[in-house]
C-alpha cells in the first residue's frame, strides 16, 4: 500500500459552526477529494433500493477514500444497513453503480464482494459458536492438506494475524465461550484472513465497554495505518468524533450531510441526523430517594458472587460493566428466572428470594430484558398480544382467568397511543416493527405495570437518538413518580446521565460503587476493566454450582 494514512483526528482548523452541507448537486462541498491518481476505495453513485412500502435508499452517493475511517450515521431506519447490504452484495440495488478502487463492479453475492477486497462485520456477529476460533477464521478459506483442513496452518495463521494487528485470541478456544470483545476480534481476523482491504463495521461498539471500544479503535487505526479502509456504521457520536476521518449522514434513505470530522461537532451531526436541534448529553436532575424497595444481600447464583445492593424509591441505580460480568445473571436472578443459591432478596420488605417470576411480578416488579427479539417479545405474535403479556393475569383478565380479546385489543391501542409506537394496527405482527419501535413497545408494556421496582437492561441498545431521548425521559418520569429503577447498561453516557448511584460489576461481583458526581468515565472505565477489583481468589467458589437450566 503506497498511500500514507490520512490525517488522524488532529485538531482541525477552528471547528466553529457545524459545516452542514445539503447533499444536493453532484459534488457537494465537503466531498473528500481523492488523492490525485488514486481512485477512492469505495464509490457509490445514485444507489436506490426500494422495499415494499419503503424507499430505503434514495439515490445515495458515498465516497470513501483509501486509508480513512469513514463513519456512516443516521437514525433507525435511515437506510444504513440497507446501503451496506447493497455494497456487500447481499441486496441488489434498483439503481446506481458501485466502484471499488475505481473499477465498476456488480456483486451478486457477498463472496463476490469479498473477492473484491470488501469485508463486513455485522451488527449481530456471524460466528459459529461451537467451532474454534481458528475454524471460524479460516471458514470457507481453509488451508488444506489432502483435501482435509490443515488445522496447524489455521492456528498459525490466527497467531500471525493476531500478532501483526494486536488482535490476540487463542486459536483453539471455542467461540461460544469467548466474551463479546474477543468475538469481535475473531470477526475482524476473519476479514483479514481473507485479505479484506475495506472493512465495513455495523455498530461495532454497541456491546463493548469504553475500554474495549477504545481498544477497537486502536486496532482500526493500526489497520488504516497499514493502508486498509474502514466504514463504520454507528449511532454513537463520541466514537465518530474521536475515531473517524469523515462522516456521511443519512436520513430517510437520503444523504443529508457529508462532513469532515475535524470540522464538525456532535451537535451538528445530531442535527443532521434528526433534522432538528438535539440537546446532547443531557444530565437529568437527581432523584429524591425514599424507602428501600429492593434489598439484595449476599446473592449468589451461577456467575454472580455475593452481590449486595439496595435500590430506593425515587432513585435510579445503574450497574455498569462489560457484558458477561454477571449483570444479566444478576438481573435474571432478581426477576426470578434463575434460582439463587445463596443470599436474600427483599422487595418492599418482603422476602422474595425463592418466589417465582409470577409472584415477583405480582408483588411489584417489572422487567425490560436485554434481548428484545428473543426474550422480550414474540415476534410472530401480534402487537396486541405482545403488549398484553404480564397484564394478561392482572388488569386484563377477570377473576376467573378469562381474557376477553376486546380487552387485549383496547389495552394495546391505549399503549400504542401513549408511547407513540408506530404500528398500523395492533393486529400486525411484532416483526413488522422497527428495532426502536419494538423497544418502545417493550418499555411501554413494562412501565404500564406501574410497578414499584423496574429492572431495565440495555434500554437503548441499537436505538436512535430521538428514541433514546424519549426512552430516557420515560425512565426519569417513572423515577420521579416515586418508583425504584435498577438500570443495567453498557453505555456509560447513559448510566452517567440517568443513574443517581452507579455500581460496577466485574467477574460476578460488585467491585465499586459511586455517587453520580464522583463517577467520571475514566474512573468507571478502569473499574469495569477490573481496576477496582479486590484480588481474585484463584479457586472458584465452592458453592458456585453450575447452572442447571440447560439452555
Amino acid at each position: 500500500m503506497t498511500r500514507p494514512p490520512s490525517d488522524i483526528p488532529a485538531a482541525g482548523d477552528g471547528a466553529g459552526s457545524p459545516a452542514l452541507t445539503p447533499a444536493a448537486g453532484p459534488t457537494p462541498a465537503a466531498e473528500p477529494i481523492p488523492a490525485a491518481g488514486l481512485p477512492p476505495a469505495v464509490e457509490l453513485r445514485g444507489i436506490t433500493k426500494r422495499f415494499p412500502g419503503t424507499l430505503a435508499n434514495d439515490a445515495v452517493d458515498l465516497t470513501v477514500r483509501r486509508g480513512e475511517i469513514h463513519a456512516l450515521m443516521g437514525e433507525n431506519g435511515a437506510g444504513k444497513s440497507t446501503l451496506m447490504s447493497v455494497l456487500y452484495g447481499m441486496e441488489r440495488p434498483d439503481a446506481g453503480s458501485i466502484r471499488i478502487d475505481g473499477v465498476e463492479v456488480s456483486f451478486g453475492s457477498p463472496s463476490a464482494a469479498m473477492a473484491a477486497g470488501l469485508g463486513m462485520v455485522h451488527q449481530s456477529f456471524k460466528l459459529f459458536d461451537s467451532l474454534t476460533v481458528a475454524e471460524n477464521v479460516v471458514y470457507r478459506a481453509e488451508p488444506r492438506r489432502f483435501g482435509l483442513v490443515d488445522r496447524a496452518a489455521a492456528r498459525r495463521r490466527v497467531r500471525e494475524l493476531g500478532a501483526e494487528h494486536g488482535l490476540v485470541v487463542d486459536p483453539d478456544a471455542r467461540v461460544g465461550d469467548l466474551p463479546v470483545g474477543l468475538r469481535q476480534r475473531v470477526e475482524i481476523l476473519k476479514l483479514l484472513h481473507r485479505g479484506a482491504r475495506t472493512l465495513i463495521l455495523d455498530e461495532p461498539t454497541a456491546v463493548l465497554t469504553p475500554a474495549e471500544a477504545d481498544a477497537l479503535f486502536v486496532v482500526l487505526r493500526s489497520l488504516t495505518a497499514r493502508g486498509r479502509t474502514v466504514i463504520l456504521v454507528t449511532h454513537k457520536l463520541r466514537e465518530v468524533l474521536e475515531g473517524s476521518d469523515n462522516v456521511t449522514v443519512l436520513r430517510d434513505g437520503r444523504v443529508v450531510a457529508r462532513l469532515r470530522t475535524a470540522d464538525t461537532s456532535g451537535a451538528g451531526i445530531a442535527a443532521a441526523m434528526t433534522g432538528r436541534d438535539v440537546e446532547l448529553d443531557r444530565v437529568h436532575p437527581p432523584g429524591t430517594p425514599g424507602d428501600v424497595v429492593l434489598a439484595v444481600e449476599g446473592l449468589r447464583t451461577a456467575g454472580v458472587h455475593d452481590v449486595g445492593l439496595a435500590v430506593r424509591a425515587g432513585e435510579i441505580v445503574g450497574i455498569a460493566g462489560v457484558a458477561g460480568n454477571g449483570q444479566s445473571e444478576l438481573v435474571e436472578a432478581l426477576a426470578g428466572l434463575r434460582p439463587a443459591t445463596a443470599g436474600r432478596v427483599g422487595l418492599r420488605g418482603e422476602d422474595i428470594t425463592h418466589a417465582s417470576a409470577t409472584e415477583r411480578r405480582a408483588k411489584g416488579l417489572a422487567y425490560v430484558p436485554e434481548d428484545r427479539h428473543a426474550v422480550g417479545t414474540a415476534p410472530a405474535a401480534s402487537v396486541a398480544d405482545n403488549l398484553a403479556m404480564g397484564h394478561h393475569r392482572t388488569s386484563l383478565s377477570s377473576r376467573h382467568g378469562l381474557l376477553p380479546p376486546s380487552a387485549v385489543r383496547s389495552h394495546a391501542r391505549e399503549l400504542v397511543d401513549r408511547f407513540g409506537i408506530k404500528a398500523s394496527t395492533p393486529d400486525v405482527p411484532a416483526t413488522a416493527l422497527s428495532g426502536g419501535n419494538l423497544q418502545k413497545l417493550l418499555i411501554g408494556r413494562e412501565l404500564a405495570h406501574d410497578a414499584p421496582l423496574l429492572l431495565v437492561e440495555q434500554p437503548t441498545r441499537g436505538v436512535d437518538i430521538g428514541a433514546i431521548q424519549a426512552i430516557h425521559d420515560e425512565l426519569i418520569a417513572y423515577r420521579d413518580a416515586g418508583h425504584a429503577v435498577l438500570l443495567v447498561s453498557a453505555e456509560l453516557s447513559e448510566i452517567r446521565g440517568l443513574a443517581d448511584r452507579i455500581l460496577v460489576m466485574y467477574e460476578g461481583r460488585v467491585t465499586a460503587s459511586y455517587d453520580r458526581s464522583d463517577a467520571d468515565e475514566a474512573t468507571l472505565g478502569l473499574a469495569m476493566a477490573g481496576g477496582a477489583a479486590a484480588p481474585r481468589a484463584d479457586t472458584p467458589d465452592p458453592d458456585d454450582t453450575p447452572d442447571t437450566d440447560g439452555d
Binding site: P110, M114, E135, D177, E507, P546
Partner: protein, 295 residues
C-alpha cells in the same frame, strides 16, 4: 454362554439398517435439518430394492435403485424444509405416513398383493463372512462420515451451516446447497438401510416392514449427539438390547417384556447421557466464563 458371538452377530445384524439410517440422520442434524423422516425414506428403499431386484434379477441394481429412490424421496424434505422453509418435523411425520401409504398402494398395483410380497426367486444380497456387503459399507460409512465431519473442508462447512446458516451465507457458503447435500446423502443412506433390510436381513417386502427402525435411528442420532461414533454406539446399544431380549425370551421372560426392553434401555441411556452432557458443558462454561480470556 449368554454373551456369545451369536448374540453379537445378531446385534450387529439388527444394527446395520439402523446404523445406516442414523448416519444419514446425523448428517442432517449437523446441517441443521431435523430429519425424522428416516423411517419413510427407509421404507421407500425397501420397496424399491425388492421391486428392482425382482424385475432385473439383480440385487445390486436393487441396492442402487433403493439409494436413488430414497434420495429422490428425501427431496420432499429438502425442498419443503430448506427451500420453502416448512416445518421439518411435520414434513418428516408426513413423509413417514406417505411412505406407508405409497408402498402399500404400489404393492397392490404392481404385484397385486397386499401385506407381503415374497418369492423364492427374489434375489437377495450375498453374505460375506456372515454379513451382507452393505453391513461392511455401514461400518466404513461410520469412519468416512467421522473423518468428513471432523477434518474435511466439506464437513467444516457443513457444521458451520448447521450451526449458523446466516453466518455461513455471509462467507459465501450456500446453506441451501449444503443442507440439500446432507438431506440427499441421508436419503441415499436410508435407501441403503432399506435395501439391507429387504434384501440383506431378509429377502422380501412387507408393508410397514421398517417397523419403527427409523424412529430408533432418530433416537440414536440424539443419543449419539449426531457424532458418527456416538451414533454407532447408540445403535449398538439398541441392537444388543434387542438381541438380548430374544435370548431372555428363551429364559422365560414374557414376550411383552422383551419387546419393551430396547426402548426402556434406550430411554435410560438418554437420561444418563443427557445428565452427563449437562454436567460437562456446565463445567466448561463455568471455567471459561470466570477466566474470561484464554491465552
Amino acid at each position: 454362554m449368554f454373551f456369545d458371538s451369536d448374540l453379537l452377530m445378531s446385534a450387529l445384524r439388527a444394527l446395520t439398517p439402523i446404523l445406516l439410517a442414523a448416519l444419514g440422520g446425523a448428517l442432517c442434524e449437523r446441517a441443521g435439518v431435523f430429519n425424522i423422516g428416516l423411517e419413510g425414506m427407509m421404507l421407500m428403499g425397501c420397496f424399491t430394492a425388492v421391486t428392482t431386484s425382482w424385475f432385473t434379477g439383480s440385487p445390486w441394481l436393487g441396492v442402487l435403485a433403493a439409494a436413488l429412490a430414497a434420495a429422490a424421496y428425501s427431496l420432499i424434505l429438502a425442498v419443503g424444509a430448506v427451500t420453502l422453509r416448512g416445518d421439518a418435523v411435520v414434513l418428516g411425520i408426513a413423509m413417514n405416513l406417505l411412505a406407508v401409504g405409497l408402498t402399500g398402494f404400489l404393492l397392490r398395483t404392481i404385484f397385486g398383493v397386499q401385506g407381503t410380497f415374497d418369492d423364492p426367486s427374489l434375489a437377495g444380497l450375498p453374505l460375506v463372512g456372515g454379513f451382507s456387503p452393505l453391513a461392511y459399507l455401514a461400518w466404513a460409512a461410520v469412519g468416512v462420515t467421522a473423518l468428513l465431519l471432523s477434518r474435511h473442508v466439506w464437513g467444516l462447512r457443513l457444521r458451520g451451516v448447521g450451526e449458523a446458516p446466516e453466518a455461513a451465507a455471509t462467507l459465501g457458503v450456500s446453506p441451501t446447497r449444503y443442507k440439500y447435500a446432507a438431506v440427499l446423502v441421508s436419503g441415499v443412506l436410508c435407501g441403503l438401510a432399506g435395501a439391507q433390510l429387504a434384501l440383506g436381513n431378509v429377502t422380501l417386502f412387507s408393508e410397514n416392514m421398517t417397523a419403527g427402525r427409523g424412529w430408533i435411528a432418530v433416537v440414536a442420532v440424539m443419543l449419539g449427539r449426531a457424532l458418527p461414533l456416538g451414533v454407532l454406539l447408540a445403535a449398538l446399544l439398541f441392537g444388543l438390547a434387542e438381541a438380548a431380549g430374544f435370548r431372555l425370551q428363551g429364559l422365560g421372560m414374557p414376550q411383552q417384556a422383551t419387546d419393551a426392553a430396547p426402548y426402556v434401555v434406550t430411554l435410560v441411556a438418554l437420561f444418563l447421557s443427557t445428565a452427563q452432557h449437562r454436567r460437562r458443558t456446565a463445567r466448561t462454561r463455568m471455567t471459561t466464563r470466570t477466566t474470561g480470556v484464554t491465552p
